[in-house]
Each structure stands twice: as C-alpha cells, then as structure tokens.
Symmetry: C2
Amino acid sequence: MTNVKVDITMSLDGFIAGPNDRPGEGLGEGGERLHAWLHDLDSFHELHGREGGEASPDSDVLREAMESVGAVVLGRRMFDNAEGWGDNPPFAMPVYVLTHEQREPLEKEGGTTFHFVNDGIESAVRQARAAAGDKDVHVGGGADTIQQALRAGLVDEIHVHVAPMLLGRGVSLFGEGLVGVDLEPTRVLHSPAVTHLRYRVVA
Amino acid sequence: MTNVKVDITMSLDGFIAGPNDRPGEGLGEGGERLHAWLHDLDSFHELHGREGGEASPDSDVLREAMESVGAVVLGRRMFDNAEGWGDNPPFAMPVYVLTHEQREPLEKEGGTTFHFVNDGIESAVRQARAAAGDKDVHVGGGADTIQQALRAGLVDEIHVHVAPMLLGRGVSLFGEGLVGVDLEPTRVLHSPAVTHLRYRVVA
C-alpha cells in the first residue's frame, strides 16, 4: 500500500534549514549541522554514489527510507537546489516538481526524471502515487510544500529526525496554521546523534 | 548536584499552549490536549492531592520529575495562572517569581512559598539554587522565562515531553533567536501517549 510521507531532519526548535538557504548554499546559515548525523552513514555514502561510511542503526533508518520510496514531490525552490546536484541527482526515481513554469520532463542520469506539475499539490501527489507503484511517496520539501500537503490532508505519515540542537532561526518545518492535526506515534528510535520519531496522521 | 532544568510538554510543532492562555483559562484554546498524557497518571493525581490514577512508565517519568525538584522559577504570567490554583498549589516548595512588583513572600498551604524577584533571571535562578539544596531547579515557564534562562546560559538540562499532535498556533516553547545551542541526548522514553526527550545543554 502506498503511504504518502514526510521524512525530514528538524532541530528541536523546529527548523529544517538556517536562514538564507539559497540554491547552492545547502541548508542555509548554520543549517548544515542538522545533517551531521547523516554524513558518516554507509547508506548516505551509497545514496551519493560513494564508497565507505559506517553501518549503524541510524544508517538502517536512512536505508529503509530510501528503499521504501518510489516517487518524490518537491517544491520549486527544492528543485532549484536539486539542480545544483548535477547530472546524477540522488533520487533515481520520478520526481514531481510544483511550479508555475510549463516545461517538458527533464531526464537525468541514474533514473531521476523531473516532472513539472502546474496544477497544485493534490495533482502532484496523485501523479506521484501512480508512479510509485506499491512503494511510498515522499513529500521531500521544502516546508511550504510539506505544509500544503498536510493542510490538504494528503499525508499519511510524518517521520521526523530530531537533531540535538536549537538552530534558533531559519525555515520552520510546520510553521503556524496546521491547527489540530492528531498524530499517533508508531516508532521511536534513537542514537547519540539523532532521535527518529515516526507518526501516523490520524485526523 | 543541582541541575537547572526545563521540563515541559510541547506539541511536535513546538507549542506549549494554545492562543489566549489567560489566567484561569488553562493552556489556551486547544492547548489542554497537550496534557492528555498526564490526566490518568497516579503521580499526577497525587500531585493534585487526589486518589486514583494508573501506574505506568509515563507516571514514573512525572514522579521522577516531581521528586527531583527542590525549587521552581516562574514568570509573572505563570504565577498569575498559579494563583488560580488556590490555597494549596501543587508545588510544595519555594517558587521564585520574576516580576517588577515589589512584594513580600506569599506563603500558601502545603509548603509552597512564592518569593518575588525583581532583579532578573540570573538572580531568580541563583536564589532557587540556594533553596533547592541538592535537588534540581525547575524553570517552569512560561516560554519567555525559559528562553531568558536559555539565553543566559543558565539551563543544564531540557526535558521535553512531545505530545503527538500539531497544535498549529499559540505559545512557541523556543521561539526564534536561540541560535546555535548544542544539545546532547541523554534519554529517550516513549509510550503511545507521549515521547519523553531529555537533553544536556553542552554549549
């Protein structure tokens, strides 16, 4: 069964990137440290086509996330960032980009094809569902896109990797306005580097 | 050794109360559900001088928090709320209230004495430390007071009980501006009702 999920790293104070997260500047000022838990994982190396890294429970969490996803939904700004990743972006699957720009699909190496969706989040998720087969759809970001999907009731699961820090400023994952969304905790895993919280959206 | 700690329930999107949390209105609109995990715990019943409730790991977490604390620091708004709790407020220990009002200590039943501190958070925490003996100091809230204590580098531990919900609006625990606070996860416990995250502040 296809689940539509959010799967993202957040600081304890709710930020997923620092301020000024312009294309090519990664996760904004101070934001790169959010992803410190990823850098030495063997699954993260694999995702980026590199050798090495270490096996660990955190690495298993990332690998599980990678293997369960069959299609991705991104906002336009995330796509602009992703373009910076070059000819072989680390998706290897169809990616549906929300944009006002009308544009033919863009095929990259390694199985990543960007499809440009002009008619909103519901359409993007519907198309991604169809492409994902029996795998999951990952609403990858940014925060605006994730909030749109939550507001539209399209999200089945929220996986949040809580980085042990207060970032203090930047891009808030949930922002304000997602009033009265009930969640059911379905799994908690943790290491000294990160706490993995998984929820099912129940209402 | 006395630790100064924050210990509070937060929604996954970072709120500790709903909007309009006026004295006598509890936790603001929609906020009461943040504390749903507490209501059936035998330790919570005990805290409020009532019989009954259920033993559980969540109840042990609350009891541990209660038993470890020797003094409390509150902001003025929290005190106004606390006054609503009547002649026997559930502290049973010295409480230091940050306020501009000059006022004699106010002794209540059951061991609670409110002391009014006019010279800022550092003074309030210092006085609470002295009163706590070898127990901990609990910076109880509200968010402004907690943020002041964090900004002044006075907090040793952050215990956050993550309620499985998005509240969407209200009082943000950390707000914005606590830039670059590094945390070390020291314990994670969880139940279907709540996830207990504990951190040591390292920088």
